[in-house]
Amino acid sequence: MRIVILSSSVYSETACAMAVRLCESVHVPVGAIALPAANRGTLLRKLGQWGAKDVIRYARTKLIPQRGEKQAQVRNPYLQPLLKHKGGIFRSLRKVAKCYDFPVVICKDQNSPDSTKQLKAWSPDLIIFTGGNILRKPLLDLPRLGVLNVHLGMLPEARGMSSPEWSLLNDVPVGVTIHYINEGIDTGPILQRCEFPDAARCASLSDLRNRLIAFGIEKAGEVVANLDRGAISATPQSHLDEDRQFFVMHEWLQARASERLTQSQSAAMAGR
């Protein structure tokens, strides 16, 4: 199967881990397209949108990995088993590509003509989205099977942003959904819904997110293998007529979600 990975940056840990997971299961991508990590245009645009304080934080997260190849730790510790490589750590998609021999192309916009032209040349069966722009129809129509996304929530119950937090507050099972992207927000056909069994073991909301990302990558690897064997098909989502989209959660509600997580921990401890 011809697979292409779309990434928000060559330094995206999620993209690196996804690429390694695919390569280890003998599905080496035919290529990857990444957005530029930090250039002057991006920084100026983000300065206008975010303000100086957040831009400094953004630049720090993007620049430190470039200098910090020697660093042993990764930001998401649950990805470390995948990112470990010959005593070091895969910190860039380029390093993964070099190791497993596939090309990485940098494009300013994943929907741009350059990106589309490159994708056409690779003629992918499947594109795996790990971050970046909102994808437009011409790109979505390119791969034979579709563009696959790992959503950190159970669909259709938890569409949109802050899904793990909303799931906790709304008493919806925490989990991930592997689905095809369509023109709506998290409304594409579902390949697999996977409930996360270890939510009660998570120490915090960020710990839960990190574990869900690792869990999602593992499940996506299984789905790709099943797609390759023709053993899985997508099911259209129900409740498309209802607006089930959630938006970024305010910190006050995040604190309540965190309390729910603590309560579920206590309940799990009491049950043991």
């Binding site: 300065l47 206008g48 303000g51 957040d54 938006f247 910190e251 006050w252 509600l253 309540r256």
Partner: protein, 425 residues
């Protein structure tokens, strides 16, 4: 707030000239004006529009609420009425009966939440002033205060309804018979001039036309019905509710705001929604609550997606203008919070919390009396809705939003879940 009936071109010209010469009469106002213009220019240039802009609390709500109420108390005129606005050009306006009326419930709510008795004494003197303005027919006059009430005073349906909200609340708080008598007289007049289809039009309506935002009058009648126990006011409220509901489009847009010479400001759209929602809750009308939920969701999505609600729209929420009407934003926050209370859907609470964060960031913390704690008509301050003014009804609605936020978040945090009101669909 409804505009005055005096809409002729010479009247507008006179108003513009008065505003323009304000600085000549008091040149010391130039500095705060320039400060605010520069500050808004910088803010609109470097505005944070990313998804997390308003998800963190940068100013405590209690602090902002105290500052809002302090502004209202400072705006009380010697006659007992509250000024309509503080203009950066001309200073405080005269007392404004309509706004004074519907600020009264906010003052009582604030006093109850904080134990601050100053708000109660402001509410009591405001009520005394309002009762002195009542026309013998039972109606209240329109426009800014221009002297004692006489038979010649021009009655206004909308202002009577808005003042009725305050008078009913004053009766609930004080249980004084003369206040109930005044409320009943106003309610009787409103029923008398109501059209058979439930709307209000004719000489006592703004521009002689029927408007859907008069749902706020229906809300006042529903409150009077609850307080007085007289069902005729409730039936009159529902007649208007039915008429307003017939103007809701499937897209969520509401026809019939119909203000000639003005765009469809968010303030008036939110009035329709607030009136229908509160009336719907009081009368247990699920059809009204569902209609409001649909329209409010359209605006919620717009705010969540763009981190901005345009100050005015064309039909079907199209072509939003490039300024924001802060009063309308505060009203929408109230609508979302009440919808959360009614439906238990946390997404309404989430968006209202973010809206309140945005509004808190736009309240001046420095400056003189009339500026600190004031809610400007538009952001940036030169926007089309009430330019260069801090308006008292903006403070009222934002204070309402913060009071609601405090009540609902305390209830949610205490129970861990939220029990929807009995009228929930």
């Amino acid at each position: 707030m409804n505009g005055s009936n005096d809409n002729a071109v010479p009247g507008k010209l006179f108003k513009a000239m008065t505003e323009a010469t304000g600085l000549l009469r008091r040149p010391q106002r130039a500095l705060p004006l320039i400060q605010r213009l520069v500050s808004d220019k910088l803010h609109s240039t470097f505005e944070q529009r990313h998804l997390c802009s308003y998800t963190t609390t940068k100013r405590p709500s209690g602090d902002a609420l105290n500052s809002l109420l302090r502004w209202i108390i400072d705006a009380q005129r010697p006659d007992g009425g509250i000024a309509a606005y503080y203009s950066l050009l001309t200073g405080y306006s005269q007392s404004y009966p309509e706004v004074t009326g519907y600020i009264v419930p906010t003052l009582y709510d604030f006093a109850r939440a904080t134990g601050d008795d100053r708000a109660v004494s402001v509410a009591e003197s405001a009520t005394r002033w309002l009762l002195s303005l009542q026309i013998p027919t039972g109606a209240f006059p329109g426009g800014l205060h221009r002297g004692p009430a006489t038979h010649e005073s021009q009655p206004s349906v909308f202002n009577t309804g808005q003042i009725l909200q305050g008078v009913v609340r004053a009766h609930v708080e004080t249980n004084r018979p003369e206040i109930l008598q005044a409320a009943v007289a106003a309610g009787d007049w409103l029923i008398k001039v109501q059209q058979p289809d439930g709307s209000w039009s004719g000489p006592a309506a703004y521009q002689n036309a029927a408007h859907t935002y008069y749902s706020m009058v229906a809300r006042a009648l529903a409150e009077l019905s609850d307080d007085s126990g007289d069902r005729q006011y409730g039936f009159a409220a529902e007649r208007n509710l039915d008429w307003v509901l017939s103007h809701f489009r499937p897209s969520g847009w509401i026809d019939g705001i119909d203000l000639q010479g003005h765009p469809n400001y968010l303030h008036f759209i939110a009035y329709v929604l607030q009136g229908v929602l509160e009336c719907g809750i009081l009368r247990q009308r699920n059809d009204a609550i569902e209609a409001v939920a649909k329209s409010s969701w359209v605006l919620l999505r717009k705010f969540e997606t763009n981190k901005f609600l345009p100050g005015a729209f064309e039909s079907d929420f199209k072509n939003g203008q490039h300024f924001t009407c802060l009063t309308g934003n505060a009203q929408m926050s109230c609508v979302w919070l009440r919808l959360f209370e009614v439906t238990g859907d946390l997404r309404y609470l989430n968006t209202a919390l973010k809206m309140n964060e945005m509004l808190k960031q736009l309240i001046p913390t420095r400056g003189g009396r009339g500026i600190v704690g004031g809610v400007s008509g538009s952001h940036p301050i030169w926007g089309r809705y009430q330019p260069l003014r801090y308006i008292s009804w903006g403070n009222k609605f934002f204070a309402d939003a913060l009071l609601l936020e405090e009540r609902l978040t305390l209830a949610f945090a205490a129970s861990g879940a939220f029990e929807a009101l009995r009228c929930a669909s």
